[in-house]
């Protein structure tokens, strides 16, 4: 854990250390680093600029709130000290660090603020959607935000932010004011990942698109996947897209997945969409239809019938062809 003592001139420390530093703690307390001063590097300095100002994101005072304790920071190696076993999921989503602080207001309410810096905006989107509570109310903070009775979560740029108020206090408007200030301190929020456009909107369950960074469907080769839920007579079906760097990688991974499911028997080849694939019925997911489309794999799980599954996959394949976020096409057209 790293402690930022209120009043410590963190930028000065980093400047003395030869580190390019954009972090300041407590904007009111921190000594500014002269803009014209060139960074001094030595062999010990790995001098990558800290990409945001901790002080701006977690200011001393915001509306009715005053920061009541030092900002604490944790990195990937000791995140478990802060959130114990939950760290595993954050590591999967490429957490870089978390800055956390407590605020109090005049009515005695306490709010904790955690600012998780993820690997990029896709991972921030991913962890936000992973922890999304469907019952929470949408709020216009960051790219997407939701507020529960005593909590508020949003993502903005490559940051995922969680605010939690003590049960005794923290009226929603006050919590939203604090969240808004944190969001402004993080800079421009950015936009939704372009990969969400891979999924057709007809029948799409709202807010159901997820980023699955690793082990999609339990397959170690399925990384950086996106999935979405579609309305279905009994329970929603799932559509999954796994992009690969090359068509050859997709071919190999697809063959391995097919082989994995084929051990249980009952496979049927399908000729389209894309490069075709297979269908089968799994004892857990129900109907599975999987196709390869160039350097991507698209899979439908649990659709009510093959026609429905194929229709969704055909639309996904079409969208992959035209999406700027589509997988690379090193080996020809999709």
């Amino acid at each position: 854990m790293r402690l930022f003592h209120v009043g410590v001139t963190v930028p000065a420390l980093f400047a003395a250390a030869g580190i390019v530093c954009g972090a300041s703690l407590g904007a009111a307390n921190a000594a500014p680093v002269p803009a014209q001063q060139p960074p001094v590097r030595d062999k010990a300095s790995v001098g990558v600029a800290i990409p945001y100002s901790v002080g701006r994101a977690l200011p001393d005072r915001v509306a009715a709130w005053t920061r009541s304790a030092q900002i604490q920071m944790y990195g990937p190696a000791d995140l478990w000290e802060y959130i114990d076993g939950a760290a595993e999921q954050y590591l999967t989503y490429g957490v870089q660090d978390v800055a956390t602080a407590k605020y109090t207001n005049s009515s005695g309410a306490v709010a904790g603020v955690d600012v998780y810096r993820m690997a990029d905006s896709v991972n921030a989107f991913g962890i936000y959607r992973q922890e999304l509570s469907p019952k929470a109310r949408p709020v216009a903070i960051g790219v997407e935000g939701r507020a529960g009775s005593s909590s508020l979560k949003f993502w903005s740029g490559s940051f995922y932010v969680k605010l939690t108020a003590s049960p005794a206090g923290g009226r929603q408007p006050e919590l939203e004011a604090l969240a808004g200030a944190v969001a402004r301190g993080l800079g421009e929020p950015g936009v939704m990942p372009p990969q969400v456009d891979w999924f057709p909107v007809v029948g799409l369950v709202p807010d159901s698109i997820r980023f699955v960074p690793a082990d999609a469907l339990g397959q170690s080769a399925f990384t950086n996947a996106f999935e979405a839920k579609y309305e279905n007579p009994r329970e929603p079906s799932t559509a999954l897209v796994v992009p690969f760097d090359s068509e050859q990688q997709a071919v190999t991974a697809f063959a391995r997945y097919e082989s994995f499911l084929a051990k249980a028997g009952g496979m049927t080849k399908v000729a389209s969409p894309g490069n075709g694939g297979f269908s089968t019925i799994d004892s857990f997911h129900g109907l599975i239809v999987a196709v390869r489309a160039g350097s991507a794999i698209a899979i439908s799980l649990g659709a009510s019938d093959q026609r429905t599954a194929s229709a969704i996959l055909a639309e996904i394949v079409k969208r992959l062809r035209s999406s700027p976020a589509g997988p690379p096409r090193k080996d020809g057209v999709l």
Binding site: L13, F14, A17, I19, S45, L217, I281, S283, F284, Q306
Partner: protein, 375 residues
Amino acid sequence: MAGPGVAASVQEAQPNARVRRFKTLGKTGWKIGDISAGSGQRDPAVLNYIFETGINLIDTGAQYGGHEDLVGKVLPRWRDKVFVLDKWDPPLVTATVTKSALLEALDVSLQKLNTTYIDCMMIHSIGHPRYGGLERIQNPAIHEAWDEAKRLGKVRFTGASSHGVRMVEEIEWGLDNNRFDVILIGANFLTHGVEPLLKKARAKGVGTIAMKTMTMYKSDLNIRALQNEQTNARQACLKWVLASDLFDTLVVSMQNYDRVAEYLAVSGTTSLTARDERYLDTVAAAVGPRYCRPGCGSCHAACPHGVPVADILRYKMYFEDYGEEKFAMQRYGLVPTSTRPSRCEGCAAPCETACPYGLRVRERLSEADRQLRFA
């Protein structure tokens, strides 16, 4: 397009991936597979497959980002065959938490898990200074909530999990006061100070489960000397626990089918081979000299000059092992000059005497000072 055929389960097609040994989980009387599942799954079908292999204990918790919900999708198929180990969210369980708050949280967990009862409800992360000390687990509300939940049939057994610095002290309190039926502790081939605790637990009929079995930080054992032999090294780490008679089972994160097969390949192990020992030696050589063991913290109060020994050694580890040089230096920059290791030269080094693992603490502190202050 032809309709698909009906497939059997994946497990029926891969019968070799199976639990091969079962032990009794202390006074619970449950026959538990020697390998149990941690909370790494993201797809319910993987968890279903895990249960098909004979693994019959799932370790979950309110804190594990939606894992209770995932278990709830699979559990109804397996409810009477699987032992569910659940935990309250650590920040909820304080020295002042009320019985009603705990019971309310329990009901939320039951709803997510899609069940009417939890086999073992644990206090999570005891012995961790962040969440409080003994006063936390001595809060009568916790014990009243447990008793009430048992009376209502919502909880069958109780226990605690820990890999914190005061793990031994706080687990021991629970054992002495007969509050725990099962304990889940950080333990692996590098931790050799917890045997008395485990023996005490077993003498009292308390079930014992190991976690963090591949050492705390390097779960992938990405050690240069192992090159492409990480699988063998991971298996050797598990085999060490399996060969010990101090644990009823171990929990390990199983995020994909490959890992399930890899881990189940060593189920039934009762002894280590010379080859396993060599892998463990390799891991120990790479990790051991730097690895502060779960539940230790012996050096915490040892320094007469107030040097935060364990913290600085951890910063050094970030610098050396994780490529997080900047992060490590930033942290070290916030250690007050008066408590940096500048006085270590000429000190009698009570920190080294205090370290039960023989870490050359003074030398490493001096190295850390040179590395981290850019000299």
